[in-house]
Chain length 120, copies 2
DNA sequence: TGCCATGACTCAACATGTTGATACAAAGCT
DNA sequence: AGCTTTGTATCAACATGTTGAGTCATGGCA
């Protein structure tokens, strides 16, 4: 079940991406499952095709899904196990920074720096 | 030495904040050091007062500096040791996610979720 | 080969974030 | 008390990000 809150400050495409990523991570969407087409999902959620397409594109860049052209988009095997370990490591990191009293926003920026991600 | 790249996609206030945070973290700016006034720094860097003020405000929220009204802004003792441990933990996390091949942008979002930070 | 359902692309309207000029409030100093 | 220097708040102009409608390119299939 996916719900988009139009009143939320986080944009719809990101809400959708996050919810799909979560369902993949907790196996609600098993590896190999075919996702709905972007038009179908857009219609169901009353979103623009573009919005759903962007969520799918980002999931593909992250290695969570594969798009096989005409055949549709599928949950990829590669990313799922990696996600588990990343979540576990993230919990460890969160525990450290909260225990030393670092501001969460700053903690995120520190990780961005460590990963070499261009800051927001 | 602080340089602001006006052509960079990361906004000036964030560039400034990041560079000050780094100088505090590597002790170029020792605990107790008085920072330049926002007007002085704004003039030196050819920025608006507001831009420097925002960088200082965020550093204060993060616990890295203290502003003592009329007397100016100073590097705070509290945050610095915490920063060290956070940086160390962030390097650990970065090592894990890169070793399992997670996309850096996704790795950042996973940490945001673990920290309960509202996504971008 | 023609069909047609799939995701990718383009572009204008709109929403949000950022900056810079200006005015304000607080507080130490003489 | 008055002056001066500090950071703070307000607000309009501008830049960037997001959305939605429409069009295009691709490729499997009868």
């Amino acid at each position: 079940m996916i719900v988009i809150d139009a009143a939320s400050p986080t944009p719809p495409y990101e809400q959708l991406r996050a919810q799909l990523a979560r369902q993949i991570q907790d196996r609600s969407l098993a590896v190999g499952t075919r996702l709905p087409t972007i038009r179908r999902l857009a219609a169901d959620l009353s979103l623009a095709v573009n919005t759903v397409a962007r969520a799918y594109r980002e999931l593909e860049e992250a290695g969570l899904i594969e798009t096989r052209g005409r055949a549709g988009s599928f949950v990829s095997a590669a990313g799922v196990q990696a996600l588990d370990r990343a979540h576990s490591a993230a919990r460890d990191y969160a525990a450290v920074v909260t225990s030393v009293g670092i501001d969460p926003a700053e903690a995120v920026r520190i990780v961005e720096a460590a990963l070499g991600v261009r800051q927001r």
